[in-house]
Symmetry: C2
């Protein structure tokens, strides 16, 4: 027998169950809702351990969103998952340049990834941006390079690419950088986690 | 030092690493590429254990896709993640009715979820469909009800909603049904897993 329950009640009950399973484990209150939403979207409790935060990263992300910053992602999936209605009310929008034909052309001509070209496009946006990277380690590598060269100052980096090649290392480059960051250390992450982290910050503004 | 490596080489190397980590563990060759792609998209090796398959489910999914079947999803994220270029070459397309205004209206009027209304819409499509469910347990429950009533005959059910309320039970309803299924038993799953499973079948046709 499956009980009838409303969507918002399901979410509330889900967070209660996550809290119960975490048990004695205490999360930093500043980061708690981000961690729990990453678990909520994956049912993977590893995110209680692997998510690492620079000082006041979540608060900085929330302040940037309140100020109308945009979000740049490296996948259409992350773009789909981010709550664009709330973001728009705050004055922001989501950019994903990966599928634009001239990005593919430039990447091919230069022998680099589309993610690198996409981050270079994003660096030219006239607004502060949160970079939410769920797939491409090369995106994080190029972000770090542009930061080091003084060409980019992200409001926050959500560095959660998933994978087995260059992923772990690319995240460490962000952890060692001067930018505010939320990083899923290790191999895990993904577009769903990137979107969930952005939404966790958006929901703290509007709910 | 991070090595330069091409996207297709990254994917090949990633699958090699996944195979290495799986070690002595032998996967059913029919299901192997689906399981490995779910791991590839999440870096979560639990999918080697929790993915369960009805007899020849993957072969049946591949045959349906070759015959030009459509895919129905319950999230825009899964729709974004499915390789629509390959699907279109085979004669298929992806449907997600969740965001259509009249679906929301009907759901509100009837006091049910949008996912239920979306599945009812999908049941009226004039083609065989693969149902790829990454989020809503109510979608799986309604699919089972319509199957039992003789109103729906899915080509394959990819039943991988993620979550903490009604999710485990809804998946068991599909495992106990007469339909071909690929199900992530337990709480885990998600739109990324739903898309990865569809893509694993699509890539076996075209690569």
């Amino acid at each position: 027998m499956i009980e009838q329950i409303k969507p918002m009640d399901i979410e509330r009950r889900s967070f209660e169950i996550i809290t119960e399973i975490l048990g004695e484990r205490k999360l930093d209150p500043e980061n708690e809702l981000v961690i729990k939403r990453a678990i909520h979207t994956s049912a993977d409790f590893d995110y209680a351990d692997n998510l690492v935060f620079s000082e006041h990263a979540v608060l900085k992300g929330i302040e940037a969103l309140k100020s109308g910053c945009d979000i740049v992602t490296d996948t259409q999936m992350a773009k789909s998952g981010i709550n664009k209605t709330i973001l728009a009310k705050l004055g922001g929008q989501v950019h994903c340049f990966m599928a634009e034909p001239d990005v593919a052309e430039e990447a091919k001509a230069r022998g680099i990834t589309r993610a690198i070209v996409s981050m270079e496009r994003a660096a030219k946006l006239p607004k502060p941006c949160i970079f939410a990277i769920g797939n491409a380690p090369t995106a994080l590598i190029r972000i770090r390079e542009m930061m080091d060269a003084g060409e980019l100052k992200p409001a926050l980096i959500v560095g959660v690419p998933v994978g087995f090649v260059n992923v772990v290392e690319s995240k460490e480059l962000i952890i060692e950088s001067a930018a505010p960051y939320i990083v899923a250390r290790g191999r895990k992450g993904g577009s769903n986690i990137a979107a969930a982290i952005c939404n966790a910050m958006l929901y703290q503004i509007t709910r």
